[in-house]
Amino acid sequence: MSEPLHETRLVVNGVPRTVAVPARRLLSDCLRHDLGLTGTHVGCEHGVCGACTVLVDGRPMRSCLLFAVGVDGAEITTVEGCRSPGGGLGPVQQAFQDCHGLQCGFCTPGFVTTITAWLRDHPDPSEEQARQAIGGNLCRCTGYQNIVASVLRAAELLRNQEEAAR
Amino acid sequence: MRIAGTATLHAPVEAVYAALQDPRVLVRTIPGCERLEQLGEDAYAMTVTAGVASVRGTYAGDVRLTDHQAPNAFRLRANGSGTPGTVAADVTVNLSPGDNGTTVITYDADAVVGGMIGGVGQRLLTTVAKRTAGEFFGAVEEVLTSGGVAAAEGEAGALLPGGADEVGAADRAGAGGAGPRVYSAPAHPRAAFPGGDFAAGVAFGAAAALLGALVGGYLARRASRSS
């Protein structure tokens, strides 16, 4: 009784990857175990906590609610892909460190991807907006205050980056 | 561990008793049994391939039939070892007449299992053991009700052109007393029958005489259906 495998092509953090997976293989498990990218974490497996959030064609989605075969051909960005091009911390990641936006770090990858996508559309948020931006991800450690600060700090770092580039 | 059970065969007691002592029957009906080589009176060296779930491999060991009280009882002791682990079994077999010319077999086995296969958990072991015991007896019944060993040998010959000659040659050679007798299971494709492999279950040396998975019998039935 062995399951048929389906060849699935994904572009993960800019790198084309091909895996052969059963139809029921969750994208979260595929990323973590078939592709070795363990940065995406699984907190509930029912789509509520958001720790598994990755960007699918740029949009944040719960990878625990997706089948890998269902996103065949998509471009996936995980927390590992949120580093800066030079390999150092990306602006959102740097902001989290600057603002003590994490404690145990388990929920953090889901916040990093979510915020990365959100800041593209909201480059200059208010504190209220920043709090709403993270309103769909659970954190049990921080009480969210420093995560809100991290969103604002990340926006600031991105603006500085842009200015430096000009 | 203890494994006990019963089976009802549609054949008279004497025929069943004889079949269970006959290496030509055993080699075909013990699950995963590949060969029996006679070591002495009622003693054989045996090679069996079987497994439980993912734990599979080949065992080499010996089988001894003792304490004969024909046609109602005998004892079987077996030892086997191989990559999946080790087995030692001591089995008491009783036969009594049932209704309408049937035979009721009761078996009581005391088995010690070691190595990897001993690690898979008692319930898996006993479940597989009982299931395949039932299939083994089904295979024996098949042999008995379809004309006996000779017919089985004939069928085996029908499977593969070379088969019959090999088997027959071995018997004829044995009859001439020119060396130990070797009984081989009819050659059969080792395709991955999902049921076959799991039916192969746990073979514990001579406990496999009772506890084997059904390969030969299954194939015999398949062959008889297709021919």
Binding site: Q94, G105, G143 | -
Partner: protein
């Protein structure tokens, strides 16, 4: 000149790997291991009649199925009862796999091992267990009534009965000018870390050694437990806590059935085995906390001074008591808070129900205690028409009365003696922070706009830094890095940073050179664990002591090399210098080389060392009798008693007149946890604690039906606060150093949680003009309370 880092809010050393997804949590390890999964009881109470595994054989990739019959020796015995107590007269623990009986939904019945988790779960689904369901005991009422029992040999369902008292409380209540009787209910909640439990075990057959990774708060104790259960010598077992995604108490419970079984299976199969639980398993098979019902009798005078306080409560401990009765003991003793109760009596019964076990969750009995005490004081204030702050001030233990002996026994088995704290100052500070005295004006203005607002406050004391001890090992390597190891564990508290700060400042090296390892028995074997807000106190001090020893040794060796007096030397930036003679110096790494008399030089450093001609001459051995090679030391901190932190929360809420929804307008915290190693980390702990406090006050509860089914076993129905529910926390600090340890530290981990429900209930009560006596309180419950109050049906 020294490198000051203690007290500095430096960025965390562990963050770079965690924010980039390079953390190593349990499920990130063991890629090639077999996967374990469990068949768990769907019934709250049942006999297990048969386990038919034949269906599982269809699953390709199945390796093994185990039930109780496969267990032998110590594995077949009930799991340990970790904290025995004379009052726990009927303690009971579970078997690793059910032995014919199951006593709660989720209890493990069979373990499956297969090639991967998907297949293991397939096999689990195909295993048919025949149960004979029994009618379960659910809820405290049913437990007390004892028409049915959870354990056949515990006829009244009472596991423990304990009384602690000082003075004649009942007599004092009866004789007091005023009296009140109050009832309080606190519902079950749970730690609910984002990462569940997990175990990954590796048996090395050649070495006959076992290595187990577990998402635990106490790797050292898991090691002892596994060695005992598995019959493996202790020195052949190592347990490592990897990065852990939150604990909050639930991961201090050990050994879990899964911990022993996964390790046992790895040995039996000779292959690596890993198990990580899914969220539903965490709900029904880990641990909960909190369910209690209190009855208070309090006697007081015209000023609201407590003359006698008698508390009786029942505590729901679930189906088994592996962690003993620590939680109700803490409730009974910490109920006193910062007050003098006059005569005090606390009596509790801990009862069995057919539900998940109860073990500590952040606060560990203190939130219930603070709720009861603080609501009682508010009731007294209302009764007398006095201010709520004044009634508290009247009852405070005053600073000059420290140390204050309550004449009770605390959870560490030692006398309950508060060592230090300035409770009036704490209250004063939080009042100013929230604008307590000016609130009347705000309320009036809001009232004019048709809004309902209220203010509440709650004070607490927290016993922290409980023993018996912690230790630390500090070593200066020959390349100048400093390696620190301590045995307790980390679940986000920033120990890699905080302990590095302590070591760096004590030794005089830049903090970047210090690495810290926690929770790995290969690196440090004697420890207790991380819980009870004890890590900074215990390991912080142990690190300081060990680093101090290393510093002293370094100075002694450097003094010989520099031909100076150790008292004339200082260490800064990793270099030892003669004070006032900057050219006479020696790098700490060179001192490290000198500390280990070598026959062979293996690099430039060691060659360089020879120019100082350090040695004791030819008449004495290179390593003296009382000395050891290496620039390293181990030291221990073992306190005579716990040290007591304190704080106060003040909250402003608004309640909706129609929907009864509660909105938190302001949340103020003042806390005193002695010296802060890293203020940013402490503040983060307070924020997180407040979030869990808000959750416990308004949202979190475990809902069991009469059949013992947990109805809300998922994040969809067990409500934890998102960012929209947690207010911004305004914090103020006081620093009363602890006299009990060299660094003056007190614990802070649970500070945010303890008084939150009390403060919020007080504010809601104030806004509504009624009395909230349950925790949590939902909008619909508040609405119903309003109705009852309007009909004068409540008190």
């Amino acid at each position: 000149m020294t490198t000051r880092t203690v007290g500095e809010p430096i960025a965390r050393r562990e963050d770079p790997r965690l924010v980039t997804g390079e953390g190593r949590y349990l499920d990130d390890l063991g890629g090639g291991a077999l996967a374990a999964a469990f068949v768990r009881s769907p019934h709250a109470a049942a006999r297990v009649v048969d386990v038919d595994v034949s269906g599982a054989l269809e699953v390709e990739g199945l390796v093994a199925v185990y039930t109780y019959e496969d267990l032998e020796g110590p594995m077949a015995e009930p799991l340990p009862l970790l904290i025995p107590h004379p009052s726990l007269h009927a303690g009971r623990t579970a078997y690793p796999l059910a032995n014919g009986v199951v006593r709660h939904v989720g209890e493990p019945v069979a373990m499956v091992v297969a090639r991967d988790r998907y297949l293991a779960e397939d096999a689990c689904e195909r295993i048919a267990v025949t149960y004979e369901p029994l009618r379960p005991v659910v809820g405290l009422d049913a437990a007390v009534a004892a028409e049915r029992t959870v354990h056949d040999d515990v006829p009244d369902n009472v596991a423990a009965h304990m009384v602690q008292e000082h003075g004649d409380a009942r007599g004092a209540v009866a004789a007091a000018p005023h009296r009140l009787k109050l009832d309080f209910t606190v519902e079950r909640s749970a730690s609910m870390p984002l990462e569940g439990r997990g175990v990954y075990a590796r048996w090395d057959a050649a070495d006959r050694s076992l290595r187990v990774y577990s998402s635990t708060q106490t790797s050292t104790s898991v090691r002892f437990a596994l060695a005992a259960r598995l019959g493996v010598p202790v020195d052949r077992v190592e347990v490592v806590a990897p990065d852990v995604g939150g604990g909050f108490g639930v991961k201090i419970m050990h050994p879990w059935p899964e911990e022993v079984l996964v390790a046992w299976a790895a040995i039996r199969l000779g292959q690596e085995v890993k198990w990580t639980e899914d969220r539903r398993e965490h709900f029904v098979a880990s641990a909960h906390e909190r369910g209690q019902r209190h009855h208070v009798s309090v006697g007081f005078d015209d000023e609201g001074r407590l003359l006698g306080l008698a508390v009786e409560f029942v505590h729901d401990n679930g189906a088994y008591t592996p962690y003993g009765i620590i939680v109700p003991i803490i409730t009974a003793t910490q109920l006193l808070g910062p007050y003098k109760p006059g005569a005090y009596r606390a009596e509790f019964r801990s009862l069995y129900t057919n539900t998940v076990i109860v073990t500590p969750y952040r606060g560990a009995g203190r939130p219930q205690a603070a709720f009861v005490m603080e609501r009682t004081l508010d009731a007294i204030a209302a009764y007398l028409g006095r201010g709520r702050a004044e009634v508290r001030e009247t009852n405070f233990i005053q600073p000059h009365e420290m140390p204050y002996d309550h004449h009770l026994t605390f959870q560490d088995g030692r006398p309950l003696i508060y060592d230090s704290g300035d409770y009036p100052a704490t209250l004063d500070k939080v009042k100013k922070l929230v604008g307590w005295d000016e609130f009347g004006a705000f309320r009036a203005e809001a009232h004019r706009d048709g809004r309902r607002v209220g203010i509440g406050l709650a004070c607490y004391v927290e016993g922290t830094g409980v023993g018996p001890y912690e230790g630390a090992h500090v070593r200066v390597e020959t390349n100048g890095t400093v390696v620190v190891a301590t045995g307790l564990t980390t679940q986000g508290q920033g120990h890699e940073t905080a302990f590095a700060q302590v070591a760096a400042e004590t030794l005089g090296v830049p903090v970047e050179r210090v690495t810290v390892v926690t929770g790995d028995t290969r690196r440090f074997k004697y420890a207790v664990g991380t819980f009870a807000s004890r890590a900074a106190v215990m390991s912080g001090n142990a690190v300081a002591l060990a680093a101090g020893k290393v510093r002293a040794k370094a100075l002694r060796i450097a003094a010989e090399a520099l031909e100076a007096d150790p008292d004339d030397l200082e260490v800064a930036g990793g270099t030892v210098r003669v004070k006032g003679a900057p050219d006479r110096e020696i790098a700490l790494e060179t001192v490290a080389v000198l500390a280990n008399p070598l026959r062979y030089a293996f690099d430039e450093q060691t060659k360089l060392a020879t120019q100082f001609a350090v040695g004791r001459g030819v008449d004495a051995p290179p390593v003296a009798d009382d000395d050891e090679p290496g620039l390293e030391a181990t030291d221990w901190y073992s306190p005579v008693r716990s040290t007591f932190a304190n704080g106060a929360h003040a909250v402003v809420v608004e309640t909706d007149p129609e929907t009864a929804e509660v909105r938190i307008l302001r949340y103020c915290v003042v806390h005193d946890c002695g010296r802060l190693i890293n203020p940013r980390i402490v503040e983060g702990q307070v924020h997180g604690g407040v979030a869990q406090g808000v959750g416990g006050a308004l949202y979190e509860r475990m809902v069991y039906d009469e059949n013992g089914q947990l109805l809300n076993a998922s994040f969809m129905d067990f409500l934890m606060p998102y960012a929209s529910e947690v207010p911004k926390v305004e914090t103020g600090h006081l620093e009363t150093l602890s006299p009990l340890n060299p660094l003056g530290i007190k614990g802070a981990g649970e500070a945010g949680t303890i008084p939150a429900a009390a403060a919020l209930a007080a504010a809601i009560s104030d806004a509504e003009g009624l009395f909230v006596d349950t925790m949590p309180i939902s909008p619909s419950e508040l609405w119903a309370l309003r109705e009852r109050h309007a009909r004068k049906e409540d008190r």
